[in-house]
Structures are given as structure tokens and as C-alpha cells.
Assembly symmetry: C2
Homo-oligomer: 290 residues x 2
């Protein structure tokens, strides 16, 4: 049987690399999170918009998408929570990516960072460095779709008065010099990334679930739900209320629940219990940590 | 007795205008929130940094500060929550400011908004218009310290390819033309502002309190607190967990509680009850709504 026969087709299918959609280019935190969760052997489908990732995943152009969902300093990425609610896909893994943000340029200026005119990066990265930016008001913060793309842009325009905020990997990849190290507001910093898929199958042993709850604005409704959750010896690792635009008397909540004992089994029981208490429970995923 | 005598000094003191610190200039949402809460008759002390507002208030250079704390689309302003925790001052009133964000420039271009090169505004305003910005990738988003300041800047540079995102009042104040109306991600949008003071005296009848709680990462600790709150026939209108950097086994929570019956009295009882349950309860304020 020659090449292209049924066996080759089958082999090709079996060894077909996973197609992974994420925002940014090499050196972006999303690309680092993708490698941490999926290893090096995948086909990258890079985008500049989070919405594109969800469209790739739900239209089968990508097997997996990688999105940032929460940063220790800048808080939740509400856009991605809204997209998780809008699209029919599930969280299948999570990864806490350590984030050190460095200021990088094509060279060092005689007057140091005070001579910078522009500082370019992703808006969430700029937000994490707000104290540094406030202390350097002569440098205008300019938003870019991703941190590594900002580094590449700074390399391309070759003006040493224009700097990017990005990872050390981006500085190395695009040949930039770090002119100020770890400029984020707090030395300890991380961004929580999740892998999403159109098929709700956890990539590893599940230990956590993420829910989107809609609750009436009535005394005790949230307390009752949380008591039910606590009764299963589980822990709420994140909770956040969000107004429902146009519905002032209802709230939605993002809740993450972690189970210590027989995780997957316990989580399924907790979800069943919550569903019996409220009509508005959407399971965003049951998944494990990397 | 001539001018400058004791009676004049006393009268001058009695009619002395309140000094109010806020971010931005005329036409900023902060200035609109200040007017809504305090009327027109105050002395404005405008700043470009939130930290300055807290420093003015705690060093008695200002009687009241006005800060944004939460936006319906972009979520909590964590920087101001962190500053509330850091400085010794209290929330004394709140106001939900309707926010319509318009795109404005010195004139209309032949090719319309597609010819724009830069869109300038406060980072939280740009975040609320993320869908419009994504749909117009040729215009670079540039951060400015406040929306009205961005409008003034656009007026001053007089380049019709550079636009600002700001309020209708800013367009009128600085003589700019609105080139796209209400470009925020959702038609309904508001920002919650709070007034802060070094003296914890509510500006009007209190109906709400804001607490910062530190809880051990243990099953049920939050459920217990919320059950206590519900027992007083009060309602949790906001809850948000935040990691404590460097302490992975503890969480802090922002909680807002609203009371329906005998508000101030009930809120004080709820706070006493919560304080008896956890060592880590900081009262950010007991205040009313405008």
C-alpha cells in the first residue's frame, strides 16, 4: 500500500497535532500557558481578539483555546467570562502562570527610563504596572493587543524612547534589552489561564468546577447556596457578583468550587444540589490544575 | 469692628466651601459625580492620580474625595479598593453615575471613523469600549489619566485623525464633535462613585455598608458569615474574593450589605456580629445612596 492509503490516513489522523488557539505571538503569556498545559507539540492558531478564540473552538477550527481569566493584581477578565457565558464550550484545565512584567526597549537611554515617550503593552499588563506608569507621567501608555506583539513592535520601530512591557521570554525572542525589571505593582503576580474546548472533557484529574449562577436579589439566597456547598466539605476559591445589565433586581455570580475528597464525584453532587436550588446555574467546566 | 475681625473670621469659616478632591477636569465623570452628591457649591481640587485623592483627604487638604469604585461593564476598580484598605478614611456616600461614552474629534473625516489613527481615553473607559476598539484595529488605543482630559488634549492637538472617548459634557465643554455615539459595549452602563472622608460621617441617611473581610481558606467560613448577614434580613449587593498576595491560604473579600429595615441600626448590629466571628473585618464605611 503506497502513501495516502488508508493506513497512512489513519496514522495521520492519530498523530495529528492538536490545534490550539490563543491570543498573541511567541513570548506572550498565553503561549507560555499553552506550553505549560499542552506541552510543545501543538499547532498554534494565534489571534488578536478573545472572541476569535471562542469562534475557532466552537466551529472546530481549533481543538482547544487558551484564555486568561483572572490576574492577581488586575482582577477578573470580564470579557472572557462574558464570552464563556455566550459560547457553548467548557473549561477543561487551568494553569496559574507566574507573571513578571519587564520594561524593554532597543537600547538604554542616557537619561534612563525618564526619557521614554511611550510605553506599549496589553491593557491588563499596563493595569498591573499602574504605579510605575503613574511615577513616569511623561511616557504615554499605549494599548496593544498582546504583550509579546508590543515587544516585536518596539523592535521594529527601533526608537529607543518607545518601550514595551512584556515577559523576559519576549525580550529574548525579539532581541530587546530589559531597561527596568519586574515593574508590576507587587513582586508576587500570576495570571490564571484556562483551556477551553467544545467537548467538556477535563485534560487531567478534575478538582475544581466553575459555575455561573443567576440569583434573585433576595436576602439569604447566596448564603443558602454557599451553605449547601460547604456541606460537601468543598471550598469556594473564587466568588464574584456582577450586575445583570438591564435587570437591576437580579445578580449573576461567578463561583469556583474546589473539592478535597473524591473530587470529580463530589463536584458533580454539589452541582446537582445547586441546580435543584436555582434555575440559573450554568456549569462552565469541571477541570484540573496544571 | 472692621473686616478681618473675629465675626468675619467666624462667618468666613461657617460659609467656607467644602474642598473636594477628584480625578480629572470639568466634563469628567468624577466631576459629574461630585456635583450629583455635593451640589455645585464646592472648591474643586483636581488630580491625575487616585492616590493623591486619598493623600489630600487624610492630610486635611480636602474635606471630601470622590473616587470610582466599580463599573457595570469593566468591574471593580481594584486600585481604589486597595487604597481604601491602605488609608485611614471612610466611605460617606455613593452615587451610580450613568455612563454613555462617545467618540469625539475636532471634525468628521471623509472616511469616517475608519480613518482614525488614535483613540485616547482613561483605561477603564477604553475597556468599556473594547468591542468598538476591536472592530477598528487601525486606531491605536492610547491611555490618558481621565476622559475629559483626553477630550481637551484632542482639542489642543487639532488632528482630526485623533479622537477621544468621553462624556457628552466633555464634548460640549471642549468644543468637539461627536463622531460616534454611545460606543461602550452595552447600552446600559454606569459607574459607581463613592465619596470618602477622614471623618466617618455619612452625608445622608445610611442604608448600606462596605466591609473588607479576611477569611481563612476553609470550607464554610464564607457561608457562615453570609448566613449571619441574612439572619438580619439584609442583602449582599456585592461580593468579590481577591487573593492576598503572598498568602495563598487566605482570601480577602469585598462585601456590600444593604439593609431594608431601620438601616443604620441594623447595619451596626450586622457589623458587630461579623466582627465577633472574624478578626479580619475592616469597615470601609456606612453610608447612603444619592
Amino acid at each position: 500500500m503506497g502513501p495516502g492509503g488508508p493506513v497512512e490516513v489513519l496514522l495521520g489522523y492519530l498523530i495529528m497535532k492538536k490545534r490550539v488557539a490563543y491570543q498573541g505571538i511567541k513570548g506572550s503569556f498565553s503561549s507560555m500557558a499553552a506550553s505549560a498545559m499542552l506541552g510543545a507539540d501543538f499547532e498554534a492558531l494565534t489571534t488578536s481578539r478573545f472572541r476569535d478564540i471562542f469562534e475557532h473552538v466552537t466551529s472546530a477550527r481549533a481543538d482547544i483555546g487558551i484564555i486568561p481569566i483572572e490576574n492577581a493584581l488586575a482582577g477578573s477578565v470580564h470579557e472572557n467570562y462574558d464570552l464563556l457565558a455566550e459560547f457553548n464550550c467548557s473549561i477543561i484545565a487551568e494553569y496559574y502562570c507566574p507573571v513578571q512584567l519587564h520594561l524593554m526597549a532597543t537600547g538604554l537611554l542616557a537619561g534612563g527610563v525618564n526619557e521614554l515617550r511611550q510605553i506599549i503593552s496589553h491593557p491588563k499588563a499596563l493595569e498591573q504596572c499602574s504605579q510605575f506608569l503613574e511615577a513616569h507621567p511623561l511616557a504615554t501608555p499605549v494599548q496593544f493587543s498582546d504583550t509579546a506583539g508590543a515587544a516585536l513592535h518596539v523592535k521594529q520601530i527601533e526608537d529607543p524612547r518607545i518601550a514595551a512591557v512584556a515577559s523576559e521570554e519576549a525580550a529574548n525572542t525579539y532581541g530587546l534589552q530589559i531597561v527596568a525589571h519586574a515593574i508590576q505593582n507587587h513582586a508576587i503576580n500570576s495570571t490564571r489561564f484556562v483551556a477551553i474546548s467544545a467537548r467538556p472533557e477535563s485534560l487531567n484529574t478534575p478538582s475544581k468546577c466553575s459555575l455561573l449562577l443567576t440569583l434573585p436579589h433576595a436576602p439569604g439566597s447566596l448564603a443558602r447556596i454557599l451553605s449547601e456547598i460547604a456541606a460537601f466539605d468543598t471550598n469556594v476559591t473564587k466568588i464574584e457578583s456582577r450586575p445583570i445589565l438591564g435587570k437591576p433586581f437580579e445578580y449573576k455570580f461567578y463561583i469556583d468550587i474546589e473539592s478535597f475528597k473524591q473530587p470529580a464525584e463530589t463536584l458533580v453532587k454539589v452541582i446537582e444540589k445547586i441546580k435543584s436550588q436555582t434555575a440559573g446555574c450554568r456549569v462552565l467546566g469541571i477541570y484540573g490544575n496544571y
